[in-house]
Symmetry: D2
Subunit: 375 residues, 4 copies
């Protein structure tokens, strides 16, 4: 049994989610994969740091993350700051030889992510990015269907991630609308999740042809403000894709998609079968096999069950709901397994860099209106 | 090629539907199964009779159906009158040795239906009741699944037929609410369709235990009337069943089922598989096979296709909508085939009597609150 | 009452479908909108022409369509030939001053369609293209939602038309794969239907950026042949769109879309509401209104009912299935109304030309990989 | 802030689930509602007790629950034993003046539950039964719709809880099949959950008319055994109901329902609206309002969101999956709130007794085949 001493940077909702997932990991998998010790929490806001310390039970707190990343009693730096700070915290942590767990995205630019991926490889530490959707048992199942050849040659990936959280034009401007804080708009916030799923299941995208649209180009500066500020990035992104495996596809994302709440949905068509998935009904995957008798052939509504990787951690029988938090628990488990047992993991900084490289190509294509290679 | 000279009794919506289906049968199947000749239409309302004659192209019309049923130039008496008249028209037609096509129900009482079934058998003519749902390719497919043993031993049938057409308490009283005209309420109007499907797929019900409820016991005497009249029969019927094949089940029907439009829906559970069907999405059947691999197992959403009996008359490929009228066309085709080629058919007067016998047992059970055998 | 003397060119499945729809129109709407008289049928295959004459009841037949289009006793030339012949038959019919009813597409090239549209306008005759999906009560309802402003400013149209009828790589080559017969592939066969719906509801597309893919570039020359022939056109088309109304979108179509049968599906997102529709469940439209209370807000599953244009011709109450044929009946009714009463109609040759113009721009864009204006 | 010293009886899956939920409650709601202290765990199996002590962090363990229930340092006895032991442990705990949290069912007989409810009332301690489905935000939302009158007068409740976990006839006999351990079969295991939901939303059932069926009357004595043992209780239960509020209904449950995994599904029809819910798609409720315009009226697919009680503990925006565990967390929160702040709660021992009283009436009715009053 090995203790994993956690240093959490960022005491907001996501920091709590990470810590909660680590505790649940412990309850579900036991101490064999490491025991989390909540060593220190850092947040620039002292009040927030103290509340987190109190609620989660961190031994120490600080308002200066530099203290944390260089502390000798920290094994794992857990980064749950706003996106724009991921780069500098991760860089400092790596330079101190720490293992790093960084919430997605890795950074807000291709260049920063490239630097971090290279540095992590050089330092030879565990470097993990929290693209939680890759932990979803549904996506793991689909990946198996695709990579085993059960669906034949893959022809097409059609995916969308739509939400309507920013539909109300009276919602004030936030960091999400400012590029130096967010990098980009719907593409980075939502599209990146879909890209991570696409990458996980389909492998590399080789070229993209994209367009973007800002539906609400100005938003109020504050709740009751009549002054308006510029929205700097896209509400909607759309693109056509070519994959290294020969497939083609379309991907889009909107943060103003009226009626859609958490519609990370995709369809994969192969010559022998197809799958359809929608995160709004997280616990089921539609699967079609061309080899079924024609009279009885149709998309099968498969509820997640213990045959699908990760599910049995939560329930002994199929068809019982699992949730967002459960993906984070599986993420914590994969991270802990890597830390204590050296097991491999997909979502390393190289993976995060690949997503950010793809995002850069998409933005470039959207500016130029032409096909743009990734890399 | 043989002409089938039609005598239609009842010139309303259903009479038009029958005639239209016969014409379409002709277009789809051609003259080999008989050519309908619209010989005579009868309706007590002269205006209605004349309009039907004109629109459908009947050679002759009459306001007295006795004339029609005894006319030597009629081969087939087609009964589309209000339900309460089915008995006397069918009886007279049979006594004149005519082939008879009677819209469902066969009559409004067990006794009348018994008499008609016996008379039809004695006269040895074609005697057909229009339980159109048995013509639905979906139900034919399910019947095959059940009777072939593909679903294993059948354990349970759970069915409902819900509509909300009579939900509005201000809708005036109609013949449907008066027992001497309708026989009973939701059970006869809606439940009988479900019983026909159940009978067709599962075979005989051996015993029932039923309850009934009238939600709106009084309705206005007319559109603008403030006078109220008694509703004599049930808005909702519910029952538990035992089948001759050993299965059990529940059946219910409501004509005040808020939100339900044409919800003739059922689920059949066998030891090796299950099916779920809902007439509101007429073109698809959900099928589950226990023998599928557990990882990939789920209800298959099977769209009707040319492998299912009757479908290929309408479309060359699967997944294209068919409709209510198409069931009536298949009904006309089965009737014409019986008339010209002697092919067998399920929905004869004996079948209609069986449904009415079951209805009688259900009503008796609902009055007494105990298990009641059918027959 | 006015007779409409029909001259049908092409005695195959579609010719029968047109004739059947005209007969049903008569049953449903009566003679006030004109009475079809089946005057003459033309088919190069004498056997086919004779069978159609016999089954449908045409007075005369010919193997030379030139005879038909110049016959003085023909009021309406009904073109149901293979696509490649639409142009010359329609042109000759127009030159003879005939009213013309042409199955979609209008022709197989932008240039031909342009010429036909101009000629039809000059001749001032009824000129109708059978884009039946515009007759679907569901699409009429969605059009009302969009054009009334109930959905607010329209942001996005996402549409797909997927089928898997050509998935089997052993299916031999047909006219659909040869450009001089088909014009193009999935775009012309399937995509054109979706474009007609998009045009009908959203108005003009102003620019496109497309890609195309041929999954099976060679197919056997015949059923048992080992010789292979080149497939000349696309199995899959994908495009991004900009609409004249300011919206953006994506459209795609595949004829090798494993598991999809008749998936003409689209989503329209406006600032006040959204709709989702899928032709595989033809009788229901999903509608979302942002103005509903948040606690009770969600996509409404609206079954077609008498409030939706066209539906009440078929059923007196909502939720009962209508079908492909019913769209053709409504098409016949709109055509007859135009012929006898001068009522306006949307799907004229100008409409057909607009679709073909859009197709031309899409193909050009797919060749060049850049945004291409329509017109 | 107040410590809640937990004594857990039963160290299996459910004991872990309770403890995990308490920890998560802490992370989500913070110490204001009490801080759980894991004081002691009891399990007859020493090994199990030790593992639980280690993993969950209990200070002490014992193999004799009598020690635990009388320990002065225990505030709350948490009962997660097999069902048959609930009664004696709960009784002893109450007699020692402890607050008691008992997993459902309260006991396995009406008489035992009656005694426990009376004793709990007399002792004036917190007495909580873990009917977790009442904590589901979906059911809380439906309860509001029903009790606020938004759905009008309630006419009907149609519910089913189907699973197929015991479908395989080769699965050996377990405690679930033996009445002295389980009380009854599918009714107690599954039906009781549905009864708790029905009770929570609809209030009291006044009378029932039930039937039961055992599909597999014998099962192997063990995994590899050829000896067979008698299954003493029902695989399927079905009943008709009358509610104190005037509504009627049907309820059924099966543990051999091929294809159904966690199908706790119900429909409630009121004169002004209806709801449909299915636990397999836990995060959405279908709601229908008769007051919507007819053209736009349909069941609304409402995703759970922060407007629904309990949801906002987990997610800041709607449409994100919550799960089984989350209901247990809300249960822990209601329990802790009751313990530390005296807030009211529905699922007390009286509630548990009411469910067991209803079960007793159902079993009696099934034996006699007649309507049986509840109480």
């Amino acid at each position: 049994m090995k203790e994993i001493r956690i240093g959490l940077v960022g005491a907001g909702w996501m920091g709590k989610a990470h810590s909660s997932a680590m505790l649940d990991e412990q309850m579900l998998f036991g101490p064999d994969f490491g025991v989390p010790v909540f060593e220190m929490v850092a947040d620039a806001n002292e009040e927030s740091a103290k509340i987190a310390q109190h609620k989660i039970g961190f031994k120490r707190m600080t308002t200066d993350w530099h203290t944390l990343v260089s502390d000798p009693d920290i094994d794992l730096v857990d980064i749950a700051t706003p996106n724009a700070f991921h780069y500098e915290v991760a860089k400092a942590a790596l330079e101190n030889g720490k293992n790093v767990y960084c919430e997605k995205p890795l950074s807000i630019s291709e260049a920063e992510s490239k630097e971090l991926a290279a540095l992590a490889a050089k330092k030879n530490v565990i470097n993990y990015v929290g693209f939680n959707n890759t932990m979803n048992p549904a996506n793991a199942y689909v990946r198996d269907l695709v990579q085993s050849g059960k669906l034949g040659k893959i022809m097409r990936f059609v995916g969308r991630y739509d939400q309507d959280q920013l539909l109300d034009e009276n919602l004030p401007i936030t960091w999400r609308h400012i590029n130096k804080l967010a990098g980009c708009g719907a593409l980075g916030d939502l599209g990146s999740h879909l890209l991570s799923v696409s990458q996980f299941i389909m492998g590399d995208i080789s070229a993209v042809n994209a367009m973007k649209e800002t539906i609400f180009p100005k938003r109020p500066k504050g709740r009751d403000s009549k002054e308006m500020a510029d929205v700097e990035n896209e509400d909607i992104i759309s693109l056509m894709t070519r994959y290294a495996n020969g497939a083609i596809g379309t991907i889009s994302a909107s943060r103003v998609a009226t009626g859609r709440k958490n519609y990370l949905a995709y369809e994969i068509q192969g010559t022998k079968g197809s799958v359809v998935y929608d995160l709004e009904t997280m616990g089921e995957v539609q699967v079609y096999f061309q080899s079924d008798d024609e009279a009885d052939r149709g998309f099968r509504r498969v509820f997640l069950n213990p045959k699908h990787k990760g599910y049995s951690a939560f329930q002994p029988a199929g068809g019982i709901s699992i949730a967002y938090n459960d993906m984070k628990i599986l993420e914590a488990h994969e991270l802990f397994s890597a830390l204590t047992q050296g097991t491999p993991y997909a979502c390393n900084f190289e993976f995060g860099y690949k997503i950010d490289r793809t995002i850069a190509a998409i933005l470039k294509s959207a500016d130029n209106g032409v096909w743009t290679p990734v890399e």
